[in-house]
């Protein structure tokens, strides 16, 4: 990894990290769903500071260019995050269905009560 790339990466991570933390503080992001993002940032940061790790890992996995290792890891991480989001969305969707039905039936009951 070249020095320029490392500097750009570290710079980007600091900015992104600050944005994410600010959003968590403002309660715009739930920590529950942001931990994986923070972890990803942390890993990229470590790798940018100590690029030796990357070379060692690439050698271990038979990947020639360490930078490809960055892409590979980024891709895997993104997939994990997306999978977790799909899971969360599915769960929420069935919870919303449940709540909507409950609200509608309660609303009906209240209206019936008021008629009497």
């Amino acid at each position: 990894m070249t020095a320029q790339l490392r500097i750009i990466l570290i710079f980007m991570i600091i900015i992104t990290g600050m944005l994410v933390i600010r959003q968590i503080k403002r309660k715009n992001l739930a920590l529950k769903y942001t931990i994986s993002w923070l972890f990803l940032l942390f890993v990229i940061l470590i790798v940018s500071i100590f690029p030796g790790i990357l070379g060692w890992l690439s050698g271990l996995m038979g990947i020639e260019l360490p930078i490809n290792m960055v892409f590979f890891l980024g891709f895997i991480f993104t997939l994990i995050i997306m999978y977790r989001l799909t899971e969360a969305v599915s769960k929420m969707s069935s919870e919303i269905t449940e709540l909507t039905q409950k609200v509608a039936l309660l609303d009906k009951e209240i209206k019936e009560q008021n008629k009497k």
């Binding site: 039905q101 039936l105 009906k108």
Partner: protein, 233 residues
């Protein structure tokens, strides 16, 4: 002997302002021994106003849930108010409620848990389009190979359910395109599902929940859902 004393008609309605009044009035005059409830699935048109003005019995969903979620609300309503049997009747007028007495009779004779009104036994009335019939035949064959039961009209929404099925559907009902999948769900739980010949009309207005653009999604989704349902225990 009357096994099913309290019977409910569930009418899911999404943007049905053109048909809903006629459909409900027809139900009230044709089958007075049934109660009915309209489930307004957060319609964007003035379906809700029509329901209010005419003092129809309705439940109003504050969020659009799609056909499965709307019908399930009806089953939950049936469970809550202690109905012995519930039947789904579409708001667009394609289901002829004069067949309801046949469905009930069939349920009593056969001690069935669910009776499906099938278009394809007597092969009379509106037989759907060619492409849809191809899809329906495919689901019939698929359900037969997975469960051994022949259901000639697995996509029919015109279905009468007894108390046990109402309970099952209240707990678990597919979100979209629910019919074929929920049949497999019931068959896997050893429910007795039988069919009764009915005639259906072409829809009076409104649009089908299955459009051409989504028919590929429909086939894939329902196929997968049936497969997953058949390996669930």
């Amino acid at each position: 002997m009357m096994l099913y004393m309290k019977k409910l008609i569930i009418i899911p309605a999404y943007n049905e302002s053109a048909n809903i009044k006629a459909t409900v009035e027809n139900i009230i005059s044709t089958v007075p021994d049934f109660d009915y409830v309209v489930i307004n699935d957060h319609s964007k048109d003035n379906t809700l106003d029509i329901l209010k003005e005419n003092h129809f019995n309705y439940v109003n969903l504050p969020v659009n849930l799609g056909i499965g979620g709307a019908v399930q609300t009806g089953y939950k309503y049936a469970l809550e108010y202690g109905y012995d049997a519930a039947v789904q009747v579409d708001a667009d007028g394609q289901h002829d409620v004069s067949y309801l007495k046949n469905l009930v009779a069939k349920m009593e004779q056969e001690h069935a848990d669910m009776v499906i009104g099938s278009r394809f036994i007597s092969k009379e009335g509106f037989q759907s389009t060619f492409m849809r019939r191809v899809g329906i035949t495919y689901f019939t064959k698929m359900i037969k190979s997975l469960t051994g039961h022949v259901i000639t009209d697995p996509t029919s929404g015109f279905r009468l359910a007894n108390r046990q099925v109402i309970e099952y559907f209240s707990k678990d009902y597919p979100r979209d395109y629910p019919e074929p999948e929920s049949i497999v769900y019931l068959l896997k739980r050893n429910m007795k599902v039988v069919e009764e010949p009915v005639m259906m009309k072409e829809r009076q207005g409104g649009v089908s929940s299955i459009r051409m653009s989504s028919s590929v999604y429909y086939m894939v989704k329902v196929t997968l859902a049936i497969l997953i349902e058949s390996i669930r225990k």
